[in-house]
């Protein structure tokens, strides 16, 4: 039985830039290393350059400056046809005039396999994505999720060094998304593929990735594992983009070893210093790490400005002296009401220090 293997290779960007025309910098001086066999997500708001970066790996865009390596090979000047990279498109780009099997066989035809080998590999690919009996259908006769899997199979059967996904879930409905992203992750781990994955959905990125590269304004904002990014964002942009975060201006009163003591009005809170020294900074606190207690107590006095019931939890907009923050509490049985006086404090772990806002 023919099986799909992996020839996973690493990807390396050395000072890569992409200019459109003379002045528009879509990607600005990016250096990046993607280890073989890992799934790396490029995450960022629209227009941040993540899709351009992906297309430069594919060879659909050519880097204006810098060098790109796949494995040990310099592919900077190589067009898409000659790179050993496959891509799953946002629109899937299945050829509407070919059957599912013809679609999956398409790339194999140009790779020097004979007819029986091509067929066997294509069948194995369809088997892998659970569409074994669908070879003779036309793409238009499949559901969105099935089309997506055909697109994955078509890319997989070439055993590419790198497999690229351009927002693969954006055309699926919410329930299917969870299922398909788990399937993609399963296949990637089973075969040990190098996968580069573009999305603007932070939850999706956190769920599937070995590593996430957050991009902003054509440059890399931060790179790290999902946990690192969520729990130790480098700056306000990353903190706010990965999950939501309340950014509260604080004063670092003292630093003792690894522990910093910060002061907000009269309230003090101790947390890891992460290399910060005394002076102004900001505290990034996830809405779920906010603690609200009725009446006065140890913390910052505040007033509930808005209370929203969303079924599994309560969402509050709270106004304090330092500004407005957003909090999520699990207690839906005895919620606060708008206008209630509360005291804000923070969970022991979770809040992190980030640099103060630029004046």
């Amino acid at each position: 039985m023919t099986q799909i293997h992996s020839k996973a290779a690493s990807v390396r960007f050395e000072n890569v830039s992409k200019l459109y025309g003379r002045t528009v910098r879509a990607v600005d001086n990016i250096s990046l290393e993607i280890a073989a066999g890992s799934l790396v997500t490029l995450l960022g708001p629209s227009g941040c350059g993540k899709t351009t970066t992906l297309r430069m790996i594919a060879g659909l865009e050519m880097a204006t400056e810098g060098r790109i390596f796949i494995g040990d090979r310099d592919v900077t000047k190589l067009p898409a046809t000659d790179r050993d990279v496959s891509m799953v498109f946002q629109s899937y780009a299945l050829f509407p005039h070919m059957t599912v099997l013809e679609n999956v066989s398409y790339g194999l035809k140009f790779s020097g396999f004979d007819k029986t080998e091509t067929k066997a590999r294509a069948m194995a690919g369809l088997e892998l994505v659970g569409l074994a009996g669908y070879g003779n259908r036309l793409p238009s006769e499949l559901s969105g999720g099935q089309q997506q899997r055909v697109a994955v199979a078509r890319a997989l059967v070439l055993e590419p060094q790198v497999l690229l996904f351009d927002e693969p879930l954006s055309n699926l409905d919410a329930k299917l998304r969870r299922q398909v992203r788990e399937e993609i992750r399963d296949i990637q781990q089973t075969l040990g593929l190098t996968v580069v994955y573009v999305t603007h959905d932070q939850e999706e990125a956190l769920a599937v990735s070995d590593e996430i590269v957050v991009m902003r304004n054509a440059a890399i904002a931060q790179k790290g594992t999902p946990r690192e990014l969520y729990e130790a964002p480098a700056d306000a942009f990353v903190a706010d983009f990965i999950g939501e975060a309340n950014l509260i201006p604080v004063e670092i009163a003292a630093v003792e070893g690894d522990t910093a003591t910060v002061r907000i009005a009269d309230y003090t809170h101790r947390l890891p210093a992460r290399g910060f020294s005394r002076g102004p900074a900001r505290l990034a606190v996830r809405p779920s790490r906010m603690r609200l207690v009725a009446g006065a107590g140890d913390g910052v006095a505040a007033v509930i400005a808005k209370a929203t019931y969303v079924g599994s939890r309560m969402e509050y907009t709270v106004t304090a002296a330092f500004g407005t923050v957003f909090a999520v509490l699990d207690d839906v049985v005895t919620p606060f009401r708008e206008g209630d006086a509360v005291t804000i404090s923070f969970a022991a772990s979770g809040p992190v220090l980030i640099p103060a806002a630029q004046p």
């Binding site: 659909l60 190589l78 067009p79 498109f89 509407p96 005039h97």
Partner: protein, 736 residues
């Protein structure tokens, strides 16, 4: 496998073109051979006879030694065959060999003609040349192609368009053929404008001839005659305005009223496609001519003398408005439908009534489209040749003046060139306005997002006049076409109205003789020639049109805008101008094809190329670009992608381009009339010949037969495209 393709050192495409170059140089006859495709020349003294000899044999015999330097360019690529594509020497050698070979081939062709050197400075430089040469033949053609594609492969190897050989070669090929068959003849014609009657160049002689009162005179303001330029201009503006208004009325009725017979209205748009342009003029004569139905009726009823009023501006204008209104209609359907209903619905929810909505939203949004329709009508009227020829009388317009300057007693190519120049300036000006001024102003971009909503009906005050106009004009059009049909079966119009099939018999008689079928009708010759030429031109037109469309929609390269302008330019060049330019340019070496069927095929390809390009662009922009990209990332190269993905999905567009270029080749007259010869006469020029001999019955019968042939072709197309379920977009495509 894929990873090895850059390192490989065999280049099948390169080998093919090197071999082609040698075949063209050493095997095929270098100079033009009559009836090449019968291959009689093979038995007629080839390869040693000088008329049929390949270039290599000529050189070996010590003749035409100026062909020898090309050997270097043919040999050089052989030395880099085993080098890698990424090797800079590979690219440099190919570019040098291709560019030198191509330039030398063109240069010697232009520099040495029937009487030795073609320019005095060449003779001064190299001394007089005793030898001479004729038009290039297939050997030269193949060798030139080989040089061109060696050059493009070299450019690709240097990294242009990501090193894509297919795309670079396609760009190079399109540029070369457009340069040779559009720009070269036009340049040659402009050059002729500076030649005086005694054959020398003179800039001083140009101005008095350019300012000739027969071109620019304004005598008609004082009861005399005006110049052809003013006549053409006034006529074109008039026709442009009228066709736009009528087309708008039809479009409004179609989209914004409860009118029932919308299919009938749509059918009207087919008429100009299948009607030879001068046929309307003939029908107008049948109605309003000296012995026309209307004229004689009015004369009897009112007791006045019938006049020849229709011969002149009035008649030409009526005929052109009839002929070109459907074109404006076709453009304006798109414009009127393109105004998003949600805009109008928004206006209505903001408390504007129907009339206010129309005036404040619908009309302003349509304005650029109206200007566009006007300019199209303007260009069509300027370029029209058939109707002024049939109906013009003493009313001179540029297109007919050009014709008479060439074929009439005057035979003055210089004057024809000057007139063509004036005409070209008018049409190119309109074309430029249309593309670059209006191109950016269009509000009616279809976003692809579903726009639920209905166009509101017209306000009542507008609806009634529009209805009345549309009904009246439709009735008039039907009467005109009825006249054509009726006129073809009448003995002698206005004199003897008995019904007869005489004209059809004269034209299309078939006898059964001893030797089987005999096509004895007088029209068969030109009919079969027309079918043959149109059949040969159609696939070539479609091919070059689609390749150009592919380059324009799918590839980015330096100079793309100029490339686009150049390829669409031939749309704005009137047929008469092309006709004059072709006979001036291709009557002498290096390209000597006047009087052959080839020149007709070539003229059709470049006259109709914009149709193919537009059909291709329209359907290619429906195909998502990710289809190509996914094919590329799956390891197919751009040629394989074009063939396996784009072409199959474009089948309806290909079919449409084929049929339209076929039909347009059958109805064309303006360029054709200059280019036909005794051997290759075309249907339209034959009909015009009959009209000039006052043989209206036969002319109309032949035209009717042509209309039915083309109706059948278009009907067949509808049937085929209707059945082809290709180009279906999958459901997910609606998601974004």
């Amino acid at each position: 496998m894929r990873t090895t393709s850059l390192e490989r050192t065999t280049h099948p495409v390169l080998i093919f073109w090197i071999v082609a170059g040698w075949v063209g140089f050493a095997l095929l006859p270098w100079y033009g051979v009559e009836d090449f495709l019968t291959f009689e020349w093979l038995l007629d003294g080839w390869p040693l006879e000088a008329d049929y000899a390949p270039a290599a044999v000529l050189i070996a015999k010590g003749q035409k030694l100026w062909l020898a330097p090309m050997l270097v360019a043919l040999a050089a690529p052989l030395f880099v065959l085993n080098r890698r594509k990424s090797d800079p020497v590979f690219a440099r050698v190919l570019i040098a060999a291709g560019a030198f070979g191509f330039a030398w081939l063109i240069g010697q062709g232009l520099g040495i003609g029937l009487r030795g050197f073609t320019a005095d400075w060449l003779a001064a430089l190299f001394g007089p040349l005793e030898d001479r040469q004729f038009g290039m033949g297939y050997g030269a053609l193949v060798t030139a192609s080989a040089f061109l594609f060696l050059l493009t492969q070299g450019i690709a190897a240097r990294g242009a368009i990501n090193g894509d050989v297919f795309v670079t070669s396609a760009i190079g090929g399109v540029i070369a053929v457009v340069a040779i068959f559009v720009f070269f003849p036009i340049a040659k014609m402009l050059q002729n404008a500076f030649i005086t009657k005694d054959g020398s160049y003179s800039i001083l002689g140009f101005f008095p001839r350019f300012m000739d009162p027969r071109i620019w005179g304004i005598g008609c303001l004082e009861g005399g005659r005006c110049g052809a330029a003013w006549n053409s201009l006034v006529l074109a503006v008039l026709v442009g305005v009228l066709t736009t208004l009528l087309g708008l009325a039809f479009a409004l009725v179609l989209t914004r009223s409860g009118f029932r017979q919308k299919r009938l209205l749509r059918a009207l748009t087919v008429l100009p496609i299948i009607t030879p342009p001068f046929v309307i003029g003939l029908a107008i004569i049948l109605l309003f001519g000296l012995s026309g139905t209307v004229t004689t009726t009015v004369a009897t009823v009112l007791g006045i003398e019938p006049t020849r009023w229709v011969y002149g501006m009035a008649g030409v204008a009526i005929a052109q408005v009839l002929a070109f209104t459907p074109i404006a209609f076709l453009v304006l359907i798109g414009v009127v439908e393109g105004v998003s209903p949600s805009m109008e619905e928004a206006a209505q929810t903001l408390r504007a009534n129907r009339w206010q909505t129309f005036c404040t939203v619908t009309w302003p949004l349509m304005r650029p489209g109206l200007a566009n329709a006007f300019l199209l009508g303007f260009i069509e009227s300027m370029a029209d040749f058939g109707n002024p020829l049939v109906l013009g009388g003493n009313f001179d317009v540029l297109s007919t003046e050009i014709f008479f300057a060439i074929v009439g007693a005057q035979h003055d190519p210089g004057r024809a060139a000057i007139l063509a120049m004036v005409l070209l300036v008018f049409t190119l000006g309109a074309f430029y306005l249309q593309r670059f001024w209006l191109g950016r102003k269009s509000y009616t971009t279809v976003t692809g997002k579903g726009d639920a909503g209905v166009h509101p009906a017209m306000p009542r005050g507008l609806a009634w006049p529009v209805y009345a106009t549309v009904v009246a004009w439709t009735a008039f059009t039907l009467v005109v076409y009825g006249m054509i049909l009726y006129g073809s079966v009448v003995q002698l119009w206005g004199v003897d109205n008995t019904l007869t099939f005489k004209h059809y018999l004269t034209a299309f008689r078939i006898d059964w003789g001893e030797s089987g079928l005999r096509w004895t009708g007088s029209a068969w010759d030109s009919f079969w020639t027309t079918i043959m030429i149109a059949t040969a031109a159609a696939p070539l037109t479609a091919a070059i049109g689609l390749i150009t469309a592919y380059l324009l929609t799918r590839q980015d390269f330096a100079g793309k805008r100029a490339f686009e302008f150049g390829t669409m330019l031939s749309f704005a060049i009137p047929g008469t101008v092309i006709g004059v330019a072709y006979i001036l340019a291709f009557n002498v070496p290096p390209v000597e094809i006047t009087g052959t069927g080839l020149i007709l095929v070539v003229s059709f390809i470049f006259r109709n190329m914009p149709v193919g390009v537009r059909a291709g662009i329209a359907s290619m922009s429906q195909l998502d670009r990710s289809l190509d990209e996914s094919s590329l990332t799956l390891g197919a190269n751009s040629w394989q992608t074009f063939r396996a993905v784009i072409l199959p999905l474009l089948r309806p567009a290909i079919l449409a381009a084929l049929v339209y270029s076929f039909v347009r080749a059958m109805t064309a007259i303006s360029a054709v009339i200059f280019l036909v010869s005794a051997k290759y006469d075309m249907a339209t020029s034959y009909i015009i010949g009959r009209v000039e001999n006052n043989d209206y019955g036969l002319a109309i019968a032949y035209s009717t037969a042509l209309i039915f042939v083309m109706l059948a072709a278009v009907g067949l197309l509808q049937l085929l495209v209707g059945r082809t379920q290709i180009g279906r977009r999958t459901a997910h495509a609606e998601g974004h």
